[in-house]
Amino acid sequence: MIDLLTSHYTYVLLFVLLGLGIYMVIASENLVKKLIGVNLFQTAIFLFFISMAYIEGGSAPIVPHEGVPGEVMVASPLPQVIVLTAIVVGIALTAVGLALIIRIYAEYGTLREDTLREVRADE
Amino acid sequence: MVADLRPLAAVLVSAVAIVLIVASHRRPNLREGWSVLAALAKFGIIVSMLPAVMDGTVFRWSLAESTGIQFLAGIDFALRADPLGIFFALLASFLWIFTSFYATGYMRGLDEHSQTRFFASFAASLSAAVGIAFAANLVTIFVFYELLSLVTYPLVAHNEDNEARIAGRKYLTYTFFGGGVFLLAGTVLIYWLTSLVSSGPTLAFEAGGIEALATAAQAEPVYAQAAFFLLIAGFGVKAALMPLHSWLADAMVAPTPVSGLLHAVAVVKSGAFGIARVILEVFGPGLIRDLPLDVPGIGEVGLNIPVAIVAAFTLTAASIIAMRKDHLKRRLAYSTTAQLSYIVLGLSMLHPYAMVGALFHIPAHAFAKLTLFFCAGSIHVETHTDYISEMAGIGKRMPLTMAAFTVGAAGMAGLPPVAGFVSKFYMLIGAGYMGGEYWLFAGALLLSAVLNVAYFWPVVYTAFFESEDRHDAKPLLEFPRGGVLRSYGGTDSDDDHVAADGGDPTDRAETTDATDAESADEEEFEYAVDKYPSDHTTADGADATSHSADARASETGDHADDDDAPGHDDHGDAVDAVDHHGDHDDHLTGGPPADGWQRRSPFAESTWLMLAPIAVIATGAIVLGIGPDYAVFLELATRIVEGVFGMPFEELGGVPLDELVTEVND
């Protein structure tokens, strides 16, 4: 058990972050905090990709300037690309979410979910 | 098998007419003319195919062969004019010709709304009905079956009031449950079963049963039996088999031409026709015999027996229910329910004679029932009377109509020379040949004949042999089920009020005093006869208002406890206190006018648009009875059965059934 924790601590952290993110989405009253929870959830996934792609002693996947003697262990570029793309997607989603939240705040004057529900029910 | 466009043309003629009807919605005569023209054209096309089909040619039109479009993978959308198909199509199209005249008279007589929608839906229904007749496989028949449910819905909900909407909802629920659920499930099962066999998946009808299905059923008998019951249930909804029948009585809110042609001829007969196809051309008598059910405790029961039992139960129970209906159309609806079960019963007895009887009953019942409905409709248009209890003496006003009604009623009961006799005769012989437990079914047939008389004769009697002011009590209509408690003995206080011979004036006074106190008007009567009316005296001039007031009051009243309420306003046994048992009373204007029915001559009682069809169809019922083979239908029926069993009809009588069905399998 301890062995698992020390060698695969990133994966454990991954699930902790996933849990935290989901918890924030469900339990927070504030809309911005929900969005932060979503972000945390996505960040956890980035961590997942990175931890699976990590190679002990690997070098960056960049073609060196001059030839290299012998073999070089290179970390695969694919997960890094994946994470970069996913970060961009996450940014776009956060931007749209925040724009919606600003609009909701402008219309209803509150960022709290329970107040929002009551105000909407009154309409 | 000859490729021919005529089956498709027969179906499409009235579909084209729909467009023309809608386009001429501003010119009623032209619009009605399209209906008549389409009916004549349809009949003409079908008749043109008749001689060849009687000789054995089968005309076929297939979507895949004409256009290369496959309806579904491995399944073709095909129409086929074979003897059974042309049998039904001929009937439907012939009767439509006269119904279109009748419907015109009816709708104009009542000045109904949405007539364009009515006639367009009517044309569509006939298109779908002929499509069902000519369908060459289970999927095509399913397509037209669903379309028929759909296009008859606007006709059921025509009145657009709450009652019509509820009836429409019920109608859609029942027919789509039958069609979309049961029929589709059965069809899919059959497709799957036949695909297990090397001769490939097929759904096409074959006289004597689908061969591939017979082979597959040896391997998977349980699924084949399940498919059989699903198909019978699916078609049985439209054929009004109990307990799936209750939509039919409610559908009577539709205008009478609809009730007549559709709910006595096209729609319900398409259900019976579908059952005929299933028994004769999907499973076949041989396969049905080979798939007995294992009932614990009884042993092996033929697959057809449960169907026969349900049919026998339906025809008895529906006849009994019909006796208690005061609303004429509802009585006719329950009569239809019972008569359709004759067809199902005959088919499920599996003997060729019974099958011929069942098949012949399709046109026999159609002609007679259509006559009856047309009469009911013309009575409604001319006098706004819907309830039998108000029809006393109406024979004066509508002699031709009631004469035709008598003919139709005789046909229902199976009295020669009307057509109903021929079919019943064949079915009884068939049941006799089968022997054994089939005598029960013969018994049910005979019992129902008696019951038919029991519920039709009162109508004829009251129309011709009674008059508005002197007519008998009708305890069947008026008392609760099982009779009034006091007729079984009851308590002492009740005994005082039962006086079979008219009783003492003092007895009479007690009841009428109480009732007079409750009735709406307190009139001073000069004569004791008026003050203390006897049993059977009811509506007459001065009492017309109290009559209708009481009738109205008793409608909503609950008559279950009238036995121990001596002051209850039911005038003893008078018929004007009939509880309509939940029939919706929406015509408060029914019944004879204040000074009794006006005597009219047969030619002046109604418009010729309605009278001519009534006369023609009643005559047709008699013609069918006198010369059944001359009128083509019996010959077609024998031809169909010959095709199923594979031997000439004259020989079929001599061969025992077990040999017959093995002949089929060969």
Binding site: S76 | Q70, A157, G180, L184
Partner: protein, 520 residues
């Protein structure tokens, strides 16, 4: 042919590029949005037809972006399944424009989002890479959130935010699934995965990956109980937007789910995976039942149609389950046909609802009373579409249902078959309600209070009071706000739905090469 495979990246890139045009041109000219969108979608439709003509005669077409080898490059593939979806997307996108010209949201930014949505949908249909699928799923979703939120009033924003949060979590679930699969196999290309997954050393990772992917798609396709975003999103979105998203977004997600099942994981592998088939089948069947029950109790028409989508997609998901459980080819044909057919039907239905709402402000079932008299063509088309949805033959709904039911019976999955047969009755329950109201119920009281004063945005006259009036008007509700084009497109969808009802055999023939490839 070398040039035909260039069509694939063009189909995706062109709408992305032209999406910038309405904003760019908007600096100078007003109201360029619709024209740009119309030109683009028509061009895309032409391209899709050209692609279809090649794919259905010669076989799949593929293109690798940038020429990179597929181990780490992105491949676009158009096979028989994806071409069908591409055709659906381009057809509906073009068709809805007939409505939005006069009825829909105005503004150049709206058309930018419209074109981005189309680009994302085409990307989902044409991609051959699982991570690329995630990216396009998110592009589609972002465009959808923007479109939903473009409705009037704050309710649209709330619905959109709810959709955003749920949709993002769902896409992230999908991404976790992809991560697990990538961890086990090291490749992202769908065709390579088909070989690599059965050969993976650690099957537990593959199973975990599949589980996360199923959950992600269950939210995206709005299956019960993860459907809660859909009714509000469809209801609150502007009337011109709902046909587009209802017909296409969940359809593309369901397509992606199907692609993952049959191409990436493979039917045989999933059949051997414990519980995979039963979970998919159960989710589908429960959605069928739950969706129809929830639909029947709705009063608002768009909400009712949204729940109807839940149940119809339930049929598709149940069909996928039957494909896995019974290796059923027929069920796969049925799922694909129903996917396409349902897309057309919902597009038509929501367009009809939009026309009615625009002209009469009628949004609830009760307000539809007597519609047939006032709007015979729209009511007639709506009736036809509803009946085809129920499964009345001939109609594309019947064709899909037939194949799915046949597949279930052939695989001897009797509960599933029973649910499919019963779904006819259940769909009839809510369809018949609307039919009865339109045709057989007299209209509500004549003359609403504010009709004479309402303004038509195109300057038309306000004469909305001839015998039919909804009891509430939403902004500019006048019969003149409806153009012939709007009615024509509704009628067109209805006719297409019936015409495709005769194409059951054609569908099976077109998909046959794909089916044989999947099943051996």
């Amino acid at each position: 042919m070398s040039s035909i495979d260039l069509l694939l990246p063009l189909l995706i890139a062109v709408p992305i590029i032209t999406a910038t045009l309405p904003i760019a041109l908007g600096l100078r000219y007003d109201r360029t949005g619709w024209s740009v969108a119309a030109l683009t979608t028509t061009g895309l439709l032409a391209g899709a037809l050209a692609l279809a003509s090649v794919v259905y005669t010669d076989g799949p077409v593929s293109h690798t972006l940038g020429g990179y080898p597929i181990e780490y490059g992105i491949q676009l593939v158009a096979d028989e399944f994806s071409t069908l979806i591409t055709l659906l997307v381009t057809t509906v996108a073009t068709g809805v424009l007939a409505y939005t010209r006069r009825g829909g949201p105005r503004g150049n930014t709206f058309y930018t989002a419209y074109l981005l949505l189309v680009a994302g949908l085409l990307g989902i249909s044409l991609t051959g890479d699982v991570f690329n699928l995630f990216v396009f799923l998110e592009i589609t979703s972002i465009a959808t959130y923007a479109l939903v939120a473009s409705g009037d009033g704050p309710e649209a924003a709330v619905a959109s935010l709810q959709y955003l949060i749920l949709g993002t979590v769902a896409a992230s679930m999908y991404l976790i699934g992809v991560a697990f699969v990538f961890m086990a196999t090291g490749t992202l290309n769908m065709i390579e995965l088909a070989d690599a997954i059965p050969a993976a050393e650690r099957p537990v990772l593959i199973r975990a990956g599949f589980a996360f992917i199923v959950v992600g798609f269950a939210v995206k396709v709005a299956q019960w109980p993860l459907h809660t975003w859909q009714p509000s999103a469809y209801q609150r979105a502007p009337d011109g937007v709902t046909p587009l998203i209802a017909a296409l977004v969940s359809t593309a997600s369901a397509y992606a789910f199907g692609r993952v099942i049959v191409t990436v994981f493979g039917v045989d592998y999933l059949a051997a995976m414990p519980n995979a088939a039963s979970i998919v089948v159960t989710v589908g069947c429960v959605s069928v039942l739950a969706g129809t029950i929830l639909a029947v109790i709705q009063t608002e028409v768009k909400r009712m149609l949204a729940y109807s989508s839940v149940s119809q997609f339930g049929l598709v998901i149940a069909a996928y389950g039957v494909v896995i459980a019974g290796s059923s080819e027929t069920a796969l044909i049925g799922a694909i046909v129903h996917l396409v057919g349902h897309g057309l039907l919902k597009a038509g239905l929501f367009l009809a609802a939009a026309v009615v709402a625009t002209s009469y402000g009628a949004r609830t079932v009760d307000e539809y009373a007597g519609l047939a008299r006032e709007r015979p063509f729209v009511a007639g088309s709506m009736a036809v579409l509803l009946l085809v949805l129920v499964g009345v033959p001939p109609g594309v709904g019947f064709v899909g249902k037939w194949y799915i039911a046949l597949g279930a019976v052939q695989s001897e999955l009797w509960p599933v078959a029973a649910v499919i047969f019963l779904s006819t009755m259940l769909t009839l329950a809510y369809a018949a309600r609307l039919l009865e109201k339109m045709y057989f119920t007299p209209p509500l009281s004549v003359g609403s209070a504010d009709a004479p004063g309402s303004i038509a945005t195109d300057g038309g006259t306000a004469d909305a009071d001839d015998g039919f009036a909804g009891t509430s008007t939403h902004g500019n509700a006048t019969p003149d706000a409806v153009s012939i084009g709007m009615i024509a497109i509704v009628v067109g969808f209805a006719l297409a739905a019936v015409a495709l009802g005769f194409a059951g055999g054609t569908f099976a023939d077109l998909l046959e090469p794909f089916i044989t490839e999947v099943f051996n």
